[in-house]
């Protein structure tokens, strides 16, 4: 019989992750506010300016990727020290990541709205979400609630996908021997950026054309599906890497 001790592990992982995320959100809030205030001052001085600003989603995706890389090893070590098995440690880590990525998604929309409301009423100054810049027709044609929900899910899947990619890379390097780390460090970018695109273009040109087509970009659900698929693949890969991983101490 195997029983899991989920809640303490979840609480610990949440506490260790939320501090960094809170600092990140604060910085993004300040940047957006500074941009809005600067736009206001520029308009007063220069009369008219054109500004389209969005920084949150890209920065948040990078932050999610970094969280995926750095959090798992430290959390895992401490959880094992405190009698938590690998399965519970992994479950708590991804549960916390899901909650954190949802918080970041909501925060992104709120920060963009705040920036937009701080900017003067000028049609040439647009501070908004990345979703609004990518899918302006949907923003105009759909109800605000649907747009809000789609933005939320779209952002969430981007962050979650970035998190799982970081998690997988971190665990892969954790498990590999020194020589294989070097091989992976060179081989992985070559595989993803050279070999895979070449093979896809040669064998599945229809898929490549679709991914980079107007059709694909006109529908946020394509991105959401790709993000979900990526998260599942890297999530399962991460579990396979961690399930029997030896616990190595931190370097002092």
């Amino acid at each position: 019989m195997s029983r899991i001790n989920f809640m303490p592990a979840f609480k610990y992982c949440f506490r260790s992750m939320i501090t960094g995320v809170a600092v990140f959100l604060l910085i993004m809030l300040v940047i957006t506010a500074v941009v809005a205030v600067t736009a206001n001052i520029s308009i007063r001085i220069n009369g008219d300016i054109t500004l389209m600003f969005n920084a949150f989603e890209t920065a948040a995706a990078i932050a999610a990727f970094v969280i995926g890389i750095v959090s798992i090893r430290e959390d895992m070590r401490l959880l094992i020290q405190y009698g938590i098995g690998r399965r519970t440690a992994f479950l708590s880590e991804i549960s916390v990541a899901i909650v954190i990525m949802m918080i970041m998604s909501v925060a992104g929309i709120l920060i963009a709205s705040l920036g937009s409301s701080m900017a003067v009423d000028n049609k040439n100054v647009i501070i908004n979400t990345l979703y609004s810049f990518f899918y302006p027709q949907r923003v105009e044609s759909l109800s605000p609630v649907i747009v809000f929900l789609e933005t939320l899910i779209w952002n969430f899947m981007i962050y979650l996908s970035a998190f799982f990619t970081g998690l997988f890379i971190s665990l892969m390097f954790y498990r590999l021997s020194k020589i294989w780390k070097v091989v992976a460090a060179i081989g992985l970018p070559v595989l993803l950026l050279v070999i895979l695109p070449t093979v896809l273009v040669k064998n599945l040109p229809g898929l490549v054309i679709y991914i980079f087509s107007i059709d694909s970009f006109s529908d946020p659900w394509t991105g959401i599906r790709i993000g979900l698929g990526n998260s599942i693949v890297f999530g399962l890969g991460s579990w396979l890497l961690i399930r029997r991983a030896p616990i190595k101490p931190a370097l002092k």
Binding site: R3, E74, R77, L78
Partner: protein
């Protein structure tokens, strides 16, 4: 109620660290796990605490396998010199985190002990010296009240005064909250008076698993002029022998017969550390 290690083997590449180990640590009591460097003590502890998986065999705690089992693993606390705490974690936060996972963790007692040992709780764990890092881990181990406590080199880098304090506190803890304690250390002499059971491991094999008293009464030493000792040991079960100048000490199994001891020879009882050294010398020469 026990920790049971059944047919456990572990290999690291071509090195066999543990070779089909079978041992049981019953509930209650303090056991000593002794062995030379590289004998497999830490590997055995790491397998019990599920930090590494065995190549074959299984570990059970109160009948439950420890493999990825929080319930069984929650009954064990392992102290070792490897730092598993985050680089930026401070001592006080580590104490608080411990209380998150172990409901019986006595935070107040931990803070009291930190004061007694002179450990500053606002310091980062990663910045602690070897001695204070040991103190930090000792404090957690003494304050966490679990049924099974594994102490791997608990007094590493500690001065004599703090080692003495630790042994006193360990006995105090054992008196207040009886549990199963397994100590692995090279300072056999210092823990000799504390332990009930002795497990000796060599090259991944358990070569002795006996109660301390049984083990110490299972043999005796004879010392004196080398020629006399050699003469006396003929036909007797010698465990090992050591010469220094013209003098020799031999460890023998069984009990000495008082009338049988020639003049000039002196019989003595085993001392655990001496026994261990003699056993290792004897085994090594085989």
């Amino acid at each position: 109620m026990a920790i049971e290690i059944r047919n456990v083997s572990k290999s690291f590449g071509s090195t066999k660290a543990l070779d089909n180990i079978n041992v049981k640590f019953d509930e209650g009591g303090i056991s000593g796990l002794f062995g030379n460097n590289g004998a497999g003590k830490t590997t055995l502890f790491n397998i019990i605490a599920n930090r590494i998986y065995p190549s074959s065999g299984e570990v059970f705690v109160d009948g439950e396998s420890v493999a990825d089992n929080d319930h069984a693993l929650g009954k064990i606390f392992m102290l070792c010199d490897a730092n598993l705490y985050p680089d930026d974690m401070r001592v006080k936060r580590a104490f608080k985190s411990t209380s998150l996972f172990y409901k019986d963790f006595d935070l107040q007692y931990a803070l009291e002990l930190a004061e007694r040992f002179g450990l500053k709780t606002n310091k980062k764990i990663a910045s602690l010296s070897t001695g204070y890092a040991s103190i930090f881990r000792i404090i957690i181990a003494l304050s966490v009240n679990v049924p099974y406590l594994l102490l791997d080199e608990p007094v590493l880098g500690l001065d004599a005064q703090n080692r003495d304090l630790f042994y006193k506190l360990l006995l105090e803890k054992y008196g207040k909250h009886p549990c199963t304690i397994i100590i692995s250390t090279h300072l056999i002499q210092e823990v000799s008076a504390l332990i009930d059971q002795t497990v000796i491991i060599r090259n991944g094999n358990i070569i002795k698993n006996q109660s301390r008293d049984e083990l110490l009464s299972s043999g005796y030493t004879v010392s004196g002029p080398a020629a006399l000792v050699d003469e006396y040991t003929i036909g007797r079960p010698v465990i090992s022998a050591q010469s220094l100048g013209g003098l020799k000490t031999a460890c023998l199994s069984g009990k000495p017969e008082a009338d049988d001891l020639p003049e000039g020879l002196e019989a003595g009882s085993f001392d655990l550390q001496e026994y261990f050294i003699q056993l290792m010398n004897g085994e090594g020469s085989k």
